[in-house]
C-alpha cells in the first residue's frame, strides 16, 4: 500500500526503546482488533505449514464424476469444474501465497533498504542516481509494470516474486533514505566516524537498525498488497502455472462461474485471500502503533 506518511518517516528517532514489550502488551490489550489479527496470523501460519497434511483430498486429483458440486459434508467448499476439492486447494494454496508475498516483500525490503541507506548516507552521485532509478519505477503505473515484467520473463512463481518486489522497492528506499539523511549527522554516527569506523560499517550498524521499525510497518502492510498483486496477475492470465493451487488464480477462474451460480468457486479462495490480506493489514496497523506510539496519542 502506498502509504508514506511524513510522520512515519521521522518516527522512532531513537533506537527501539526498552519498554517495547510493555507497549506491545499495552497495544494488544487496548486494541482487541489487533489481538484478533494476531490470532488470525497464527492460524494462517499454521495452515501454511500443515496445510498439505490436513487437506482431506489431493488438491490436484481430478474427478470428473463430481465436477462442480456445491459445498457438502464430503466437500466442505464444493468442487471445481474438474472435480477437485476446493477446500483442499484453498488450504494447500496458503503456503504458496505466503511464500510469494513474504519472498517478494523480503526482497524489496533488502534491496530497498540498501539503496535507501546508501544514498541517504553518502548523498551526492549515489543519491542522485538511485533517486532517478526510484523515480523511474514510481512513474510507471505499478501494476502494469508488474504485468510487463511477468509477460516478458514468463509466468513462473519466481518472476511473479521479482515483479512484485521491484514495484515495491521505492517505498522502502524512500523510508530508509529519509532515516539515513536525518541520522548521518547525528551524534552517535559522528562518534562512530571519529572512532575510525568505515562508511559501510556505519551504515550497517548505526543507520540501518534505526530505519527498521518504520520499514517493518511498511513490510507488514505490503504483505497483503503483494498477495493481491499476484492475484491480479492471475486474473489477466499471468499467474502461476496450472494446476498449482493459488488463491488468485482460483478467484480469477471462479469469477467466471459466479453468474452461472457456482459461487463457491470464487467465494472460498476469495475469503481466504481477504482474511489473509486483512490480517496482514491489521498487523501492520498494530505494529505501527507499537513503533510509533505518537499516532495513538
Amino acid at each position: 500500500m502506498a502509504d508514506a506518511s511524513p510522520s512515519m518517516t521521522t518516527s522512532a528517532l531513537t533506537a527501539p526503546q526498552p519498554n517495547f514489550w510493555r507497549r506491545t502488551q499495552h497495544v494488544l490489550a487496548s486494541n482487541p482488533v489487533s489481538f484478533v489479527a494476531l490470532g488470525g496470523f497464527v492460524l494462517i501460519l499454521l495452515a501454511g505449514i500443515f496445510g498439505p497434511l490436513l487437506a482431506p483430498y489431493d488438491p490436484l486429483a481430478t474427478n470428473a464424476a463430481v465436477a462442480l458440486q456445491p459445498p457438502s459434508f464430503a466437500y466442505w467448499f464444493g468442487t471445481d469444474q474438474l472435480g477437485r476439492d476446493v477446500f483442499s486447494r484453498v488450504l494447500v494454496a496458503t503456503r504458496l501465497d505466503l511464500m510469494v508475498s513474504v519472498a517478494a516483500v523480503a526482497l524489496s525490503f533488502v534491496v530497498g533498504a540498501a539503496i535507501g541507506t546508501l544514498s541517504g548516507y553518502y548523498g551526492g552521485w549515489t543519491d542522485r542516481l538511485s533517486g532517478r532509478l526510484i523515480d523511474t519505477i514510481m512513474a510507471f503505473p505499478l501494476f502494469v509494470l508488474a504485468m510487463g515484467i511477468v509477460a516478458a520473463l514468463g509466468n513462473t512463481v519466481e518472476n511473479i516474486i521479482y515483479a512484485t518486489a521491484i514495484i515495491n522497492i521505492p517505498f522502502y528506499a524512500r523510508v530508509t533514505r529519509a532515516e539515513a539523511l536525518i541520522r548521518r549527522n547525528a551524534g552517535f554516527v559522528q562518534a562512530a566516524k571519529l572512532s575510525g569506523n568505515g562508511g559501510l560499517r556505519i551504515v550497517a550498524i548505526q543507520i540501518f537498525p534505526n530505519a527498521l521499525p518504520p520499514m517493518a510497518v511498511q513490510a507488514s502492510l505490503n504483505l497483503g498488497w503483494a498477495i493481491l498483486n499476484a492475484a491480479g496477475l492471475s486474473f489477466i492470465g499471468l499467474g502461476v502455472r496450472p494446476p498449482t493451487p493459488e488463491w488468485g488464480i482460483m478467484v480469477a477462474e471462479g469469477a467466471n462461474f459466479i453468474i452461472s451460480g457456482e459461487w463457491w468457486l470464487a467465494l472460498f479462495p476469495g475469503a481466504a485471500l481477504m482474511i489473509t490480506v486483512f490480517t496482514f493489514n491489521l498487523m501492520g496497523d498494530a505494529l505501527r502503533d507499537i513503533v510509533d506510539p505518537r499516532k495513538r496519542t
Partner: protein, 537 residues
C-alpha cells in the same frame, strides 16, 4: 490531446449526431427495428484484406459486402439456419459457366446490383477487388490461392457486366473459394478516389470505411466498444434484413455477456462458452443454437521433432491414455461431437471429421509404451493457448493425469495468445500441445492439406509422410464425384488413424445464446456474425 486528434474526435462527434438514434431509449424497450449483439472480441478493421485484421472483423466483409457467388442456406433439424456448403447460389453474379475447355469461368453480373452510393456494380469493380485480394499478401492471398486464384492476370473484364476468371488449373475449390468472405466486391470508384500513390489499394480508407453493396453500412464504429450496422435499403442480393439497425457491443467478460442475454439486455450473445450454452439451453427465455463447426477438430498435437514422439507406438499409447469422455464432459460440457471410439481402423466412408478408433484404455496404452523404445517413460510439456484457456486448460490437466499413468511426466505451459501462432504454427516447437484448426472449405483433403503436409501452417506436429503428400496432391483439386476420390481419401484417413500425429478429442460447436424474439441467426463456417437475415419480433 493534440490538435489533429481533437479535430478527428470532433468530426466523429458530429458524424454520430447524424445517426437518427432516439435520444432516450430504455434498453428493455428496444424497438423492433434494432438488434443488440454482444461479442467478446474486438473488431480492429473494416477491411478484411488489410494486414493485421483479426477474425472478428471478418463479419464486416460478410455484412457490408457481397461476393460473386454465395453458399445456400439450409434449415437444420432443430429449426436453426445454417449455410449450405453443397449449394452455390448467385450473389452479384446472376449466372456463370465454364468455357468449352474448362479453363475459364465466365460470370454474368446482375443488372440491378448497385453499391451503396447508387453506382452500378461493374466487371471493373470485380476485377479491382479480386486483384486487391491477391495483391495485398498475407491471409487474403493465401486464402485466394487455396482456390487457385493467384495472379491479377487471371481476372479479365469482358464487358461492363461480364467477367472472366482464367484458371491455372481445374479445381473443385475455385467456386467455393469465391463464396468465402475474402473475395468481396468493393466499389472501385470510391476506393480509387481515396487511394494515394503510396497506397494504391486504398487500405487506409477501407480500413475505416466500407464501400460495398452489402446488406448493411456502418453507421458508427467506436473501436474497442461497438459497431453499429445500418440497413442498406438499396441492397439487391437478398431480402432486406428485418431490422433497421444492429448494434454490436464488445463485452470482454463472458460472464457479463451471459448476464446480459439472460436479462434480455442484448438479443444475441454470439459464441458463448460451452458451459453457458449447456446451462442456458435449460432456460425458457433464452434460446441456444449450437452448430457443429464443419471440418474442425479440437485435437492433441504430438510433435514429431521430439524424439519420444517420433515413435508411433508412443503416439498410439498416448492416444489410448487420453480420458476422452471426461474431457468432453468437463472441458467441453458435452457440446459438440465425440471424435473417439471409432469402430474400425479402416474408415467406412469419406465423412470428415469422423471418430478415430481410440478409446481410454490404460492397459493397452501401457502395453504400447512397454513395446516402444521409451518403456521407462519420459518428461515433456503440454502447451496451451492462454486465449483459449477455457477449454484447453481443463483438457490439458486431464491429459496430464492420463499421461502420468503411462509414465509420461508433463508440465502444463500456458502461452499468451500472441505468441501462440509463432510457437505452435510458425516455429512448430511445442512438443505436446492442443490445436483447433478448422478448414473453411469443407473437404477432408483440404483439412489434410493444411494439417498433415510438411511445412504447412497448421501441421504443428511436423508430420511428414510422402504417401499423404501424394494423396493430398491428387485429391485436393479433384471433383468429389470422381471415382478415384473416395478410395484415396479413405486411405488418407486410415493413415491418420494409425499414425496419429494429431489425436482428435471432439468436434466443437459454435454456440450462441439469443432471445426467442430474434430470428434469422445463421451459422457460417467462418464463425462470425451474419446479421443479414435478422429480424426481431
Amino acid at each position: 490531446m493534440d490538435r489533429r486528434s481533437f479535430l478527428k474526435t470532433a468530426a466523429a462527434t458530429t458524424g454520430m449526431a447524424a445517426v437518427p438514434f432516439a435520444k432516450v431509449l430504455p434498453a428493455a424497450a428496444a424497438p423492433t427495428g434494432v438488434a443488440v449483439v454482444a461479442i467478446s472480441q474486438t473488431i480492429n478493421s473494416l477491411d478484411i484484406h488489410r494486414k493485421g485484421t483479426n477474425r472478428p472483423s471478418y463479419q464486416i466483409a460478410v455484412n457490408c459486402y457481397d461476393r460473386l457467388v454465395s453458399f445456400g442456406t439450409k434449415t437444420m433439424t432443430d429449426g436453426s439456419l445454417s449455410y449450405d456448403y453443397s449449394k452455390i447460389e448467385p450473389d452479384l453474379a446472376e449466372s456463370w459457366e465454364y468455357s468449352a475447355d474448362g479453363m475459364a469461368i465466365i460470370f454474368k453480373l446482375r443488372k440491378d446490383a448497385v453499391f451503396t452510393d447508387g453506382s452500378p456494380v461493374t466487371a471493373a469493380d470485380v476485377k479491382w477487388s479480386l486483384d486487391r485480394a491477391v495483391s495485398l499478401g498475407g491471409f487474403p492471398a493465401v486464402q485466394m490461392k487455396a482456390g487457385s486464384l493467384e495472379k491479377p492476370e487471371q481476372f479479365v473484364v469482358v464487358d461492363d457486366k461480364t467477367f472472366r476468371i482464367d484458371l491455372i488449373r481445374k479445381s473443385k475449390l475455385t467456386i467455393p473459394d469465391l463464396a468465402v468472405p475474402v473475395p468481396m466486391i468493393i466499389n472501385s470508384k470510391v476506393a480509387k478516389a481515396n487511394a494515394t500513390p503510396d497506397d494504391p489499394w486504398a487500405t487506409d480508407f477501407l480500413h475505416r470505411n466500407t464501400a460495398g453493396s452489402g446488406a448493411y453500412t456502418i453507421a458508427r464504429w467506436d473501436p474497442g466498444q461497438q459497431i453499429v450496422y445500418q440497413r442498406n435499403e438499396k441492397w439487391t442480393s437478398g431480402a432486406l434484413p428485418g431490422v433497421k439497425r444492429v448494434v454490436v457491443r464488445e463485452v470482454p467478460s463472458q460472464a457479463t455477456s451471459r448476464a446480459l442475454v439472460e436479462r434480455g439486455d442484448v438479443q444475441l450473445a454470439f459464441a458463448v462458452p460451452d458451459k453457458d450454452a449447456r446451462e442456458l439451453t435449460a432456460k425458457d427465455d433464452v434460446d441456444v443454437v449450437g452448430s457443429l463447426i464443419e471440418n474442425c477438430i479440437y485435437c492433441l498435437g504430438l510433435n514429431l521433432n521430439f524424439e519420444p514422439l517420433k515413435d508411433v507406438k508412443v503416439r498410439q499409447a498416448i492416444a489410448y491414455s487420453v480420458p476422452y469422455a471426461d474431457i468432453h464432459k468437463v472441458a467441453g460440457y458435452g457440446q459438440g461431437a465425440p471424435m473417439w471410439g471409432g469402430k474400425s481402423t479402416t474408415p467406412e466412408d469419406v465423412s470428415w471429421p469422423q471418430p478415430f478408433p481410440y478409446d481410454t484404455n490404460i492397459e493397452k496404452a501401457k502395453e504400447l509404451m512397454a513395446a516402444s523404445s521409451f518403456a521407462s517413460g519420459f518428461e515433456t510439456t503440454i502447451s496451451i493457448n492462454l486465449s483459449l484457456a477455457s477449454w484447453m486448460e481443463p483438457t490439458a490437466l486431464l491429459i496430464q493425469e492420463g499421461l502420468a499413468k503411462i509414465g509420461v511426466k508433463t508440465t502444463v505451459d500456458k502461452i499468451p495468445g500472441a505468441n501462440w501462432r509463432t510457437a505452435a504454427l510458425v516455429e512448430k516447437r511445442l512438443p505436446i500441445h492442443l490445436e483447433n484448426f478448422g478448414g473453411w472449405l469443407n473437404y477432408p483433403d483440404y483439412y489434410f492439406f493444411w494439417a498433415y503436409l510438411k511445412g504447412h501452417l497448421f501441421n504443428s506436429s511436423n508430420y511428414d509422410n510422402p504417401e499423404v503428400a501424394k494423396l493430398v496432391g491428387e485429391t485436393l483439386h479433384m471433383e468429389t464425384d470422381n471415382p478415384e476420390y473416395a478410395p484415396k481419401v479413405k486411405r488418407l484417413i486410415e493413415i491418420a488413424f494409425t499414425d496419429v500425429p494429431r489425436i482428435p478429442l471432439w468436434q466443437p460447436s459454435l454456440n450462441s445464446a439469443m432471445s426467442p424474439k430474434l430470428e434469422g441467426y445463421e451459422y457460417w463456417f467462418h464463425r462470425q456474425l451474419d446479421a443479414r437475415k435478422f429480424s426481431v419480433s
